[in-house]
């Protein structure tokens, strides 16, 4: 997946640059409500349940201050990505037990295969392994700066 394509998957109305929630479940709720408010989903119940179940499989907080809540549901019409940031970080039960500051919520339609979102997930998990990129992601405050970080990656 080329960096240009990666950046183009993000939308300004699907970004939260300062999450209000302070707890794991409420962060998931806030992101899902944002999707509903933006018209991306009709019913937040299914998505929230699916994401909570996914977290019971193992935290999607991979450490380094980044989490990747993800999954497939029949209630998702298209591949959808939401970016969210918590400046102070929250306890997302990350694998390294450190606070999580950056969230990439990735949702895909269930009638399509897992490969529809796995490629994107793979690209993003690789992206945050670059220390410079990661530092910039912690600090993004608007869509332009997010696009610059995602578009500058040559991975």
């Amino acid at each position: 997946m080329e960096s240009k394509k990666l950046a183009s998957l993000f939308q300004e109305d699907l970004c939260i640059f300062s999450l209000r929630s302070r707890k794991k479940t409420s962060v998931l709720q806030e992101m899902v409500r944002h999707l509903k408010a933006s018209g991306k989903i009709a019913d937040e119940h299914f998505i929230l349940e699916m994401l909570k179940n996914r977290e019971s499989l193992g935290s999607t907080g991979l450490g380094l201050g980044v989490a990747f809540p993800h999954g497939r549901s029949i209630a998702i019409p298209d591949l959808t990505v939401l970016f969210a940031r918590s400046p102070s970080g929250i306890d997302f039960e990350a694998l390294d037990s450190e606070p999580t500051k950056v969230f990439f919520l990735i949702l895909a339609p269930s009638e399509k295969g897992a490969e529809t979102y796995l490629a994107l997930l793979s690209r993003l998990t690789a992206l945050v392994q670059q220390p410079e990129t990661l530092e910039k992601l912690y600090e993004v405050k608007n869509f332009e700066s997010l696009q610059a970080v995602l578009g500058s990656d040559n991975g």
Binding site: N53, G71, I74, P77, E111, T125
Partner: protein, 114 residues
Amino acid sequence: MREEFRLLVALQDLDIMIKEVEEKKTSDQLKNMGFQLDGLEELQKARATLAGKIPPALRNRYEKLAGRYRMAIIPVTDDKCLGCFVKLPTSFFSSAYSSELITCENCGRLLFIP
């Protein structure tokens, strides 16, 4: 949407997740990215709890369809069943909004309006 249909949709989402973990190729990909997938037992327990809340007749109908097709419940897009791609009759839409469970007359799958 009727409550039991909501539960059925949640059950299918859970089944898809469980299947992904059980598929070696997908779970290997996820593990290579750093995800831990240790909670399969938790998911299976959640599935059993959820399945127990669904009336047996409806659950059996779902299980039969899930055994036959990759997905028992399928979305409707552009007036078509996305399982068999057959255009749905106009009568479908009047009954759909009466919150009854709708079945594709061609393939028998349960239909979901996104």
